[in-house]
Symmetry: C2
């Protein structure tokens, strides 16, 4: 145990952090009780809701079945990998003769813990969201705006607190158990979390957009019936999609970001401990996280619908700024009384500022009061083509400013630790990552709030609520669109920050095995290293292409099924009953099929690059993945968000309003944006981190491996699997059913 090296104060502090993790989880449990005790509404509502509930649970069960073999296999591989490379000196210091076994258990166990936590945050969060949306609808039906808002936000807060609590608990526990030898286990923890998040994002993203696009193409476009109309057989699948994509997928993704930032901060903190002999570098990020969780607990509790004006955004923001103020005050206090150093505090603050700047940038480029969306809305007047072009221009530009914000933050960290060894600079960058995700509790609460009110509004429409109730739900829903956009920007930004700081871990890990490797760092001026950069840059393009195709493929299957039902069951006739279960089953099966190829590419490509081109090219490969991944992800998220809001701008009555030619053009923009912003874009975030972590994990193995026929056979095998995966993803759209 590491704790012997700590002062009394430090030991108390670390156990307090563990305690705060439990406070967060307990808070989630209390909120759960509050939400569940609320009224659930009448039978009609519950019947609709039961379909959503069942569909979502079934989906996650099936997903788990699809990936459990892979997870089991990886647990085995990680366990066995401890015998390929000799244990590090730190592990021997810590565990003596048991070092190898301890590493094996740590790596495999932490991986499993990361995967399980990520999966649990997604599943429990989604479950609470589904419980919440029924009760929000019930409260709205009684015209109780304040209660509806409160339930919606608190249901979301449960997910936020699960993220905070499990993330903080896992990292701290590993650190207490493994001490100096923690990096191995921490990397496993991060890898497990991100891999699960990747599956949740990919599966959920395909599900939600295929159902959405499929339902709209037949319902809104061909049959001219409104969204969420109960006659549309895909309407339940669409609502299920909101839950598995926007709730479960998003929650797992943010959990993973939360994890990876603490993993990199702890690894770099350990490096500084070696350098300075001072433990405070490790304790500081844990304390910062602890304070962040406490301030989220307090801030989120203040959000309620009381007060004169019915302005949900103002209530939510009040909670956010309360948390932010408490956090910053707390960090400053620790810097003074414990760190005796302003730099770590300043880097954390830079991260908080970055999160706010990214929020504002996202808002500027996607909010419908701002010039970019206005320019897209104006271009709808000349048709769909100009609408698409102006959206592309807006998206491309937004990624430039987002990357500039990240650049300035990294430069700030460099400036703050100016003149210190590189290890300090990397630590500073890792702390900006911690700062960015300080208010994860609030962010996730805000984000989950979106699909909860969206579903509640859907239930209201399907159960034909009175107008007043529907107005309350519409008001809550409009805010949901804004809150959802913000979290994506922060998540992808944190990927870049975490990746930059993990470069340090990458090099250190390699040099533990071979002190001469990477002596000059990662030099893209070497052609073979530059090649790694080029391949890495292409990966996000490949991923996005495969995901867009997967959505199109699945959406075509839904369109066929919905058209068949309209034709065979004569659904436009009053009294006819659509078969909601069939589209749900199609989406569930189709999304599963895409998981393994995508997962195989994410895990195997870095391994092949490392084995073929060696560790330095692998480092450059990562840089390429990060660069083009960040640019594409922000482009897709913001272009999609901007098109969505341009459509909303027209729907409130501008340029001819609903039904006009301008509106039709804006619908094209929105439909193009959907898979970009909700499937391909969000999946790039965990993809970047999966590749990053697997590279750091395998780098020591690559360095110690001698080339042998066995290695070449192995590479050939992996290349075969990758080729299979790409061919799976390239399969063409199913043939469309154009009826008899």
């Amino acid at each position: 145990m590491i704790l012997g090296s700590f002062s009394f104060f430090e030991s108390v502090a670390i156990f307090s952090v563990l305690g705060i993790a439990f406070i967060g989880l307990a808070y989630a449990l209390i909120l759960r009780g509050q939400v569940l005790s609320a009224e659930v509404g009448d039978d009609q509502m519950r019947k609709i809701w039961e379909g959503i509930h069942q569909g979502a649970e079934t989906y996650l069960d099936r997903q788990w079945k699809s990936i459990r073999l892979l997870i089991g296999f990886l647990v085995f591989v990680l366990f066995a990998s401890a015998w390929i490379v000799n244990p590090s000196q730190e592990a021997i210091d810590q565990f003596g003769g048991m070092a190898r076994l301890a590493i094996a258990l740590g790596r495999a166990g932490a991986f499993l813990m990361g995967a399980t936590f990520s999966s649990l945050v997604g599943r429990w969060g989604m479950r609470m969201a589904i419980q919440g949306n029924l009760r929000v609808a019930a409260a709205a039906k009684k015209n109780d705006y304040a209660k509806a808002l409160k339930i919606a936000y608190r249901s979301g807060t449960i997910t936020g607190m699960l993220t905070d609590g499990l993330g903080l608990f896992g990292g701290t526990l590993i650190f207490i158990l493994f001490g100096k030898a923690a990096p191995d286990a921490l990397l496993g923890f991060g890898f497990g979390g991100t891999l699960l998040a990747l599956f949740m994002r990919v599966g959920g993203g395909i599900y939600t957009k295929a159902a959405d696009v499929g339902a709209d193409l037949v319902g809104k476009v061909e049959k001219n019936i409104p969204e969420d109309d109960p006659r549309n057989p895909a309407v339940v699948a669409d609502l299920v999609g909101d839950n598995v994509g926007d709730c479960a997928g998003m929650a797992a993704d943010i959990f993973e970001s939360y994890e990876v930032t603490i993993v990199s901060a702890l690894i770099l903190g350990l490096a500084l401990w070696h350098l300075t002999g001072d433990l405070k570098w490790i304790v500081f990020p844990l304390l910062v996280r602890g304070i962040g969780v406490l301030s989220s607990v307090i801030g989120t509790y203040f959000v309620s619908g009381e007060g004169k004006k019915q302005n949900p955004m103002a209530s939510i923001n009040r909670g956010f700024y309360t948390s932010a103020a408490i956090s910053i005050f707390g960090f400053g206090l620790i810097a003074i009384i414990y760190m005796h150093e302003w730099r770590a505090f300043a880097s954390t603050l830079a991260g908080i500022v970055l999160a706010i700047v990214i929020d504002k940038l996202t808002e500027y480029f996607t909010d419908y009061d701002k010039p970019p969306v206005a320019s897209i809305a104006r271009s709808t007047k000349t048709g769909a083509a100009t609408t698409i072009l102006s959206g592309i221009a807006v998206g491309l530009e937004s990624s430039v400013w987002a990357i500039l914000a990240i650049v300035l933050t990294i430069l700030a960290a460099v400036g703050i630790y100016w003149g210190q060894p590189t290890a300090f600079i990397l630590y500073g960058i890792a702390m900006t990552g911690i700062g960015m995700l300080t208010l994860t509790g609030n962010n996730v609460a805000m984000d989950s709030y979106g699909p909860i009110v969206d579903n509640a509004s859907g239930i209201g429409e399907m159960a034909k609520f009175p107008q007043a109730a529907q107005t309350i739900l519409a008001k809550l829903d409009a805010t949901g669109n804004t809150t959802k956009a913000i979290t994506k920007g922060v998540a992808i930004g944190s990927a870049v920050i975490a990746a930059v700081s993990l470069f340090g871990a990458f090099i250190t890990d390699v040099q533990k095995i071979n002190p001469h490797a990477l002596a000059s760092g990662i030099r893209i001026s070497e052609p073979i290293v530059f090649v790694g950069l080029l391949i890495g840059g292409a990966i996000p393009f490949l991923f996005s292409s495969l995901l867009i195709k997967a959505v199109s493929r699945t959406a075509s299957a839904i369109v066929n099924e919905v058209r068949r039902q309209f034709r065979e069951l004569d659904l436009m006739k009053p009294g006819s009953k659509p078969d909601y279960a069939k589209p749900v089953a199609i989406c569930t099966a189709a999304a599963q099929k895409e998981l393994l190829p995508i997962g195989a590419i994410a895990v195997l490509v870095p391994i092949v690059i490392g084995l073929l081109l060696k560790e330095e090219s692998l480092g450059a490969f990562l840089a390429g993945v990060i660069l083009s991944g960040q640019l594409l992800a922000v482009f897709m998220a913001n272009a999609g968000g901007a098109w969505d809001n341009a459509k909303k701008y027209i729907e409130v009555g501008n340029y001819g309003g609903k039904g006009s030619d301008a509106h039709k053009a804006s619908v094209v923009g929105d439909t193009v944006g959907d898979p970009l912003k909700d499937t391909a874009g969000p999946a790039l975030n965990p993809m970047i981190k999966v590749m990053n972590l697997i590279s750091v994990i395998i780098a020591p193995i690559i360095v110690s491996l001698k080339s042998s026929p066995f290695v070449f056979v192995f590479i050939a095998l992996l290349l075969g699997v990758i080729a299979w995966a790409i061919l799976q993803g390239k399969k063409e759209t199913v043939d469309m059913d154009f009826g008899p």
Copy 2:
């Protein structure tokens, strides 16, 4: 003079290369005579043609006026820059006390020569294309297919031979004059050529697509009249655009690629001379280029329309493969009798293979017989949104394979020179660039052929040719679409190859001033260097966004003008006369306005990055520009090409043919693709190279500069200009005229 160091054979060889350059130019002159002696058709045709001719000439005159001050200023700066840094040892060896003056004259003079040549190739090439298109139309009117094809291809070949001749002449001359000290002048030569090409691509690209989109939006969409209908006031502007964009812009761009590859090969050849004492490394690329020009002369002359079948593509390909066979045979011969070395030959061959692979990839992703375009065409059945999405997926995927082809070529060069010092590997990579552009004469001929037959077909339609004549023109035109797509892929691929090999020059240049600088290469594992990579990656996104906006802005102005004319001049009434000159004037003025901001960003951003973050970050910045530039450029070119051909696929009668809903969706795809494939995508190629060359030129200055208040004021000034340029580019679309 360097020639004293050469053997007799080598001296003869080098002057023979100079002679071949003149043979190429003489061949161009002969072809010019042949084309001009052909019949020019009747008065009606000539009147239409006169408008195109005038508009295009006026545009280039105005463009030259817009940029001549900047060119003059840069000539001055380059001249003066010789006094900032001490002359290199090579320059002192070569010119003694006159070294500084020689460098100043070389740099500034070569820059001016590069800019002038690039501009001349564009202007003369375009002029011959315009002369050609009238005569092609006249031949078609007489139902003479063979003559029409021959004139079209030979008019294009003139541009090809100008590119070859002037490119070979310039590089060889500089080398003869400056010898060991040539790199400085060669960089100036490359910079001048690329900067002019950037202006031609940007100005021409905005012009051609604004006119095209503007003409179509009112003519085809609102008034339901065919493309090239003489009642459309923007029809002449549209035809002028084809010439200034697809002829002049393209020719200048390929000329610049041709130049930059020889510049990097000569610079790296000089480095090997230092290393081995052997001059053959410099002579070889010149000989390869000479043989390439000769084989293009022979191969292109064999292209004619004689023979039983009227298949233009087969005739053109026969010429291409004749040239390729002669080249490869010649290279092999030189390798045996002169080089006594297989490696340089093998790398050149790898380049030829890469050019063919990129051709095939482009064909696969954009040809309408192949699965990707078929999948886009199929998705038109579910509307514009799915059409756009499948095009985006196709474009994203195509960029992955293109980069993989480049990666394999670089790896081939690394493998060929395995075990040799890095300087040899870089030389090998530079030789693959030379190989890629060996058949530039044929490529440019094929590419120019496109707009020539397009214009001829336009003239035929406006002058109401009989059906048989129009059929001949349509057949020629269909081939033009394929040949145009191919050149773009090769041009952008060569940018990456040239850039990778120029990394070597970048480091050598810096170390001449400070031997300790960049001792470890360019390490992206350093945060401040990684920041350079991130900023570089964002630049192509910024560029593309600004260019798409510029097209939209100009197209809106054209739409307003065309609507005004239709309304005020009552153009749908027989006998009314549209004012063709006004849209031409609008496009001319608007395209000019965009040149300076775009040029300022391309030239100044690398300087600011270098001054602020120093040489290592500047190197990473370049890598970022290259990576995301290549990915975006191929994405845009191929997505655009695929949408274009999906529309053509439907127009020949599939999925309901012209006028169906599927066709309308395909028109949206085509319109979105237009500015991507003809404005933003092609402009990225010279942009990458401008940034590359300016970085290599300023790197020695940056290394020798001490930080002083003056430097900071200078940086602030440059940042101000860049901010102004971005704001210019961000300006919103003009308000649309929706009539009274």
